[in-house]
């Protein structure tokens, strides 16, 4: 529930933190930071259309109803994998293996890059529209 710039800045900070933590083999930080980096970039994309998630269930509804059109079904599946994996290892009974953490990180990196490219495209097209107005 913030403006686009704040979500984007936080996402970037978290993405860098996830990479550092992954190199240091600190899985709780890696998983938390990597997941939230993707989440806040999605929120940045939502903010472009004046939308906010008030909780994670709300975020999933917005993903289903709006963001999947822009980001694709594969992204939506990935996001749900990331969401439940994070919940299981940070709140639940599971301890991730190193290969699982690496796979999680790789998925987050790919998803982060994907959302960022869609966000930048949206911002470019918005500038063009505003430029012609």
């Amino acid at each position: 529930m913030a403006d686009m710039t704040t979500h984007r800045e936080l996402a970037n900070q978290l993405y860098e933190a996830a990479r550092s933590a992954h190199a240091a083999k600190q899985w709780p930080i890696t998983i938390d930071a990597a997941f939230y980096s993707v989440f806040h970039l999605m929120e940045a994309l939502n903010a472009v259309d004046c939308r906010d998630s008030y909780n994670f269930a709300d975020a999933d509804d917005i993903l289903t109803n709006f963001l999947t059109d822009q980001l694709g079904e594969r992204f939506a599946r990935n996001y749900r994998y990331l969401f439940y994996f994070r919940r299981g290892v940070l709140y639940g009974p599971h301890f991730p293996t190193e290969p699982q953490v690496t796979e999680f990180m790789q998925m987050c990196e790919a998803d982060y890059a994907h959302v960022l490219s869609v966000l930048e495209q949206r911002l470019r097209s918005r500038r063009v529209v505003h430029g012609h107005a």
């Binding site: 936080l10 994670f56 639940g92």
Partner: protein, 132 residues
């Protein structure tokens, strides 16, 4: 749901990492989360040994459910002081992971750590004792 020993392992791991980030004055958002995960796992350890785990909400996390269980089964049974439960309420009330109040800064994390420390210390003592 995790068993008590897993909650203890996760509380210890998260607390170690929280203190590391705090000492290095970096990543306040993640430090806040690690402090909170420490508290929730220590509380759930205390609840788990009494067979009072909070129920998981679909697609969410049961912070308020945990609060109810803590007040009913720990405060109500006089194994935890109400002011300690109030700290937990405050910790999840001000933990704005959706950037509701912008990005957390160093002043915020110092306040958050200051709030959490007495509760974490109290829960460590509580969890050393066998459940009655």
């Amino acid at each position: 749901m995790a068993i008590a020993t897993v909650h203890r392992q996760k509380a210890d791991l998260c607390w170690k990492l929280a203190q590391q980030l705090y000492a290095e004055k970096r990543d306040p958002f993640l430090c806040m989360n690690l402090i909170f995960y420490t508290v929730l796992h220590a509380l759930e350890e205390a609840l788990a040994v009494r067979r009072k785990h909070p129920a998981a909400q679909p697609r969410g996390v049961p912070h308020a459910d945990r609060d109810v269980q803590v007040r009913k089964h720990l405060v109500g049974k006089q194994v935890l002081e109400p002011e300690m439960a109030d700290i937990y309420t405050e910790l999840y009330s001000i933990r704005h992971t959706f950037a509701e109040e912008g990005i957390q800064d160093q002043a915020f994390i110092e306040h958050y750590m200051g709030l959490a420390r007495p509760l974490i210390a109290r829960l460590k003592v509580l969890n050393q004792k066998p459940a009655s």
